[in-house]
């Protein structure tokens, strides 16, 4: 499907405008002797300078996916498939082939791929000053830089993200910062090496609504100034609509629908996407109307049957089809993919 261009230096290659491409990515987590299939074969493609939203309920595997990209899943996680990533020098690597905490992967982390987290309050150690922890990212990736250089760069970054009095803030401890300020500091730190890819794992979930808006604006501004791609993980469809160009909807470790924001919001194909959109409160809706809730709970991803993951909760479940085999991925319109038996050409 994709136009493969031969690259002399590496076995892997990616088209010009593609930064990251995951194929058949599977992540298993071993817990108490059981194996959880957290991510069950997803394909994902992220273009340069685009923001891709990864949406789903808690436990659908979106966080595991994002951590797998940057290689910081715990050691009880194992993965197969491939994650191709184009480095700054144009070479393409399969990230899954790298040793998780090896030198090569570490050289990419914080430098070419960065990540910000859901709870900024816990992303810094309480024992060292913000400046100390932020400077590290410069010192790791620029061995030639002195502490003074690092401090200058960090203060510059702090100004960029709108932290007032950065010289004073530099020597303060995390507990002296508010949540919003810490998220700004985290963003400043993670972007100080100008990475090509920023993974944002629900960066605003733990923040107040007004702060949320500020942080989102900041991210948009920085994206246009620094030119990077953002993989935006969230369960908030409102944020997706305002931040992203394309959206992947995840359910039970699979991507069930993928397309542009317009396609997904105006023409949702998968019943799960439809349900998600219906469960959003609407400002123009009738007040008496009850908010829609999807029936049932997300199953535990252990020994899942060969079937559509959503069939137990699906209102349009077709017996004998949906509970008997995996639905294939269908391209319903250009760039709009859905994994649902409702749209297959062949009927069983």
């Amino acid at each position: 499907m994709l136009f493969q261009k031969k690259n002399e230096q590496k076995r892997y290659s990616l088209p010009d405008n593609v930064l990251l491409k995951a194929e058949d990515l599977r992540v298993n987590i071993k817990i108490d002797g059981a194996v959880l299939n957290a991510v069950r074969g997803i394909d994902l493609e992220l273009k340069s300078c685009e923001t891709l939203g990864l949406v789903g309920e808690s436990g659908c595997g979106k966080s595991v996916t994002s951590k797998e990209v940057i290689g910081i899943n715990p050691s009880n996680c194992s993965s197969t498939g491939s994650i191709l990533f184009k480095r700054k020098d144009g070479t393409v690597l399969n990230l899954l082939e790298l040793e998780r905490d090896g030198a090569e992967y570490r050289a990419i982390r914080g430098n070419e791929i960065a990540m910000i987290f859901q709870e900024p309050m816990t992303a810094f150690s309480p024992l060292y000053t913000i400046g100390n922890q932020m400077s590290e990212i410069i010192l790791i990736h620029h061995p030639e830089a002195t502490k003074k250089d690092a401090k200058e760069k960090i203060i510059e970054m702090m100004k960029l993200v709108g932290i007032a009095n950065p010289e004073i803030r530099f020597d303060q401890y995390p507990h002296e910062f508010s949540g919003g300020m810490l998220q700004r500091a985290l963003i400043a730190m993670m972007l100080s090496n100008e990475p090509d890819l920023l993974i944002a794992d629900e960066p605003t979930t733990a923040l107040d609504v007004t702060i949320q808006a500020q942080i989102l604006d900041l991210m948009k501004r920085l994206q246009s100034e620094l030119g990077m791609s953002i993989l935006f993980i969230t369960h908030d469809l409102g944020i997706v609509a305002s931040m992203c160009q394309r959206v992947a909807v995840m359910y039970l470790g699979e991507i069930v629908e993928f397309g542009s924001v317009r396609q997904i919001f105006h023409n949702p194909k998968h019943p799960y996407t439809g349900n998600l959109l219906r469960s959003l409160p609407r400002i123009d809706s009738d007040r008496e109307e009850k908010l829609y809730a999807i029936k049932g709970v997300v199953p535990v991803p252990v020994d899942l049957p060969e079937a559509c993951g959503f069939h137990e909760r699906c209102e349009q479940c077709m017996e004998g089809i949906c509970d008997k085999r995996f639905p294939p991925v269908i391209e319903v319109e250009p760039g709009h993919f859905v994994r649902c038996a409702l749209y297959g050409k062949s009927e069983g």
Binding site: K67, R106, T122, F124, S125, Y173, H175
Partner: protein, 336 residues
């Protein structure tokens, strides 16, 4: 910040003084607990030994210790004697002031405790870190089980078992600090080696429980820290695992351990008491035990008092240390 910290230290210090005061009340209560005051016992002992004690002497002694007065007056006398004259009372067992008895035995006790403490920390912290970093490895299982058993064996049983083993292996029960032939010999290399040999069992017995406890604490603290979010962020920065472990996790995990130094000291002192009794070591534990058996309460009470004061000071130092090590705790403590 500086003045806030000072205020915090002063506040803690005042609490410490209050605690010591309450402890002294409790200790004095214990001293006066045994039925019949010690003077009666003493006079009884003297008379049993065939000495005649005149009523005059008894009255004089009574006046000195204020025995005919209410508890609070007696307490006041006892406390002012300690504070102003360094006088902890009189040991009827030793027939000399309590202070002199304590002075004679405190040095070996302190040396033994400090050596054990050093041994405890040097062993438990690295093992705790190793166990946490290699969780569920063979080594982790091994150390965890040793730690578990070590926590459960009562000190005195371990002492007896080790004595038994030592006897079976060497034909010597390793009682006391020296073998008989070095007991009165002048210092020499052989005597020193003999001393070291005799210290193995006491250090093992006193240290084991504490070492195992610290090991477990260090392991669980370290596991806690390793699973915290900031390690994820640090990894996402591209930091080496080794740096994350030592710069962040160990540093954070060690804080509560540092804060427990006060308690460790108590455990070790308690340990020396039992071990001294079982292994017949000439240290304060043995002295206290003999004093208790004879209801020589001034001596026993003073030793108890000293141990409690040391604990309080240990706790005070731990609190300050913790506040100094952990900026977040510093803020909480200072404000709270």
């Amino acid at each position: 910040m500086k003045s806030e910290f000072l205020r915090f230290v002063i506040k803690k210090f005042l609490i410490m003084v209050l605690t010591v005061f309450l402890i002294s009340l409790a200790v004095f209560y214990i001293i006066t607990l045994p039925p019949g005051d010690f003077l009666t016992n003493y006079v009884g002992q003297l008379q049993a030994a065939g000495e005649s004690v005149s009523q005059e002497t008894i009255d004089k002694l009574k006046a000195v210790y204020g025995l005919d007065q209410p508890f609070i007056v007696q307490y006041w006398k006892w406390v002012t004697n300690i504070v102003f004259h360094g006088d902890f009372g009189y040991s009827f067992l030793w027939k000399m002031p309590v202070t002199s008895v304590i002075q004679a035995y405190i040095v070996p006790t302190i040396v033994l405790s400090l050596v054990t403490m050093l041994f405890t920390y040097l062993i438990s912290i690295p093992i705790g870190i190793y166990s946490a970093v290699h969780q569920y490895s063979l080594g982790d299982y091994l150390f965890t089980s040793i730690g578990f058993i070590g926590m459960a064996v009562p000190n005195f049983l371990l002492g007896i078992i080790l004595m038994f083993i030592a006897f079976k292996l060497t034909g010597d029960t390793m009682l006391g600090f020296f073998s008989a032939k070095y007991q009165t010999a002048p210092w020499s290399l052989e005597k020193f080696i003999d001393l070291l040999k005799h210290c193995i069992i006491p250090i093992l017995v006193i240290g084991l429980m504490n070492t195992c406890g610290l090991m477990r604490t260090m392991r669980s603290q370290m596991l806690d820290e390793l699973s915290k979010n900031y390690t994820l962020a640090a990894r996402a920065k591209g930091l080496k695992m080794r740096v994350i472990r030592y710069k962040y996790c160990v540093r954070a995990a060690i804080n509560p351990i540092a804060a427990s130094i006060g308690w460790s000291l108590v455990n070790i002192f308690t340990g020396t008491t039992i071990v001294a009794i079982v292994l017949n070591l000439p240290s304060m534990g043995r002295v206290m035990y003999d004093a208790l058996l004879d209801q020589d309460m001034y001596l026993a009470g003073s030793w108890l008092f000293l141990m409690a004061i040391m604990t309080v000071i240990g706790t005070f130092l731990s609190d300050i240390l913790l506040a100094w090590l952990d900026p977040r705790a510093r803020k909480e403590y200072i404000q709270g």
